[in-house]
Homo-oligomer: 195 residues x 2
């Protein structure tokens, strides 16, 4: 156990937890492993996260929040709503594809963790559809979109693009033609908004 | 083994195989079980299907073809393309939902079998998107749809509705609101076709 020199923050614990999960896998990783990686006692970790389950939930939320934060910047930008919508959906697809492709072990780890933390996932999906609702509402306000129910429409847009963001489809994302199929779908959906 | 009185046809073997798979599960069902259910020797079964794998593939195709056949009637009907498109996608959703809900053991069995017979599934999905392409083409010819690439559009429609026909989402199909969400999605897509 290397001696700890930095202050032990929740963020440092979450960083270490992610690395421990990646290395040991979600089935074997323990709080003791996390404490060892940080050079602290496991009691110190428990002062920040009262149970192993709470720690795993927090690390899951942190992972999901990274995507939410990145997309919020796009959703709230001061730009043409159609361009924002396209960029938002493309960024979601690209973020998921990169996560799955660049670090498959970590992606598999988070697939297990999200399965354990359904509430965190539901909250995440609500945040994402709220962002989309905002873009659709802006499009309606600007007269660019002619749909009437922004929240219902946002949900339909999110569901329609499931193939390009639901982790269950990760195996499809690197196939030839995936990019063209995504664009064709996006074009059809944008047409639907603008009729 | 009850004595067999009817002629042993491929169709009778496939029917019996489905029942044996349902009862024993895909991991345990054997050709001997099928032969026993029919009151014939396993050699008689092998005269129709040369291997256990061939039998399992044939029963998978038969199951997939039932849906294809039902949908072909809708795709080829002499009716307004928009109504046909809506009916086709609703019938696909309903057929899948019924299969998953009415007989979960058989549905789980076929989930295993389709995983084993990827070629049969790819062929099935091609047949379905070909049917959709025909409906889209008819809509273009009738001046009702203003899209230009029927095959690409058909694929986008099929992918956009994955949540309502991909067996991986079966757990979502009985949730409250699923029907309304499906309708909202369909409305958005039809708007996109008609711009």
């Amino acid at each position: 156990m290397p001696p700890s020199t930095e202050t032990l923050t929740a963020e440092r614990i979450l960083e270490a937890t992610e690395e421990v999960l990646r290395r040991h896998g979600p089935a074997k990783a323990t709080v003791v492993d996390v404490a060892r990686a940080l050079g602290v006692s496991h009691g110190s970790v428990y002062r920040h996260f009262r149970t192993k389950a709470a720690l795993r939930e927090a690390v899951t939320k942190r992972w999901l929040d990274r995507t939410t934060g990145m997309l919020a910047v796009i959703a709230e930008a001061d730009r043409d709503p159609e361009a924002r919508l396209r960029e938002w959906l493309a960024a979601l697809f690209e973020a998921k594809r990169r996560k799955a492709g660049d670090d498959p072990e970590l992606f598999a780890t988070y697939t297990v963790l999200t399965g354990e933390n359904v509430d965190a996932v539901v909250e995440h999906l609500t945040e994402l559809t709220d962002q989309l609702t905002r873009v659709v509402q802006d499009g309606i306000d600007a007269g660019a979109f002619t749909v009437t129910a922004p929240a219902t429409t946002a949900r339909a847009l999110f569901q329609a693009t499931a193939l390009f963001h639901d982790p269950g489809y990760a195996g499809e994302w690197e196939k030839p033609g995936a990019e063209e199929e995504f664009t064709a779908l996006l074009d059809l959906l944008v047409r639907g908004l603008k009729t």
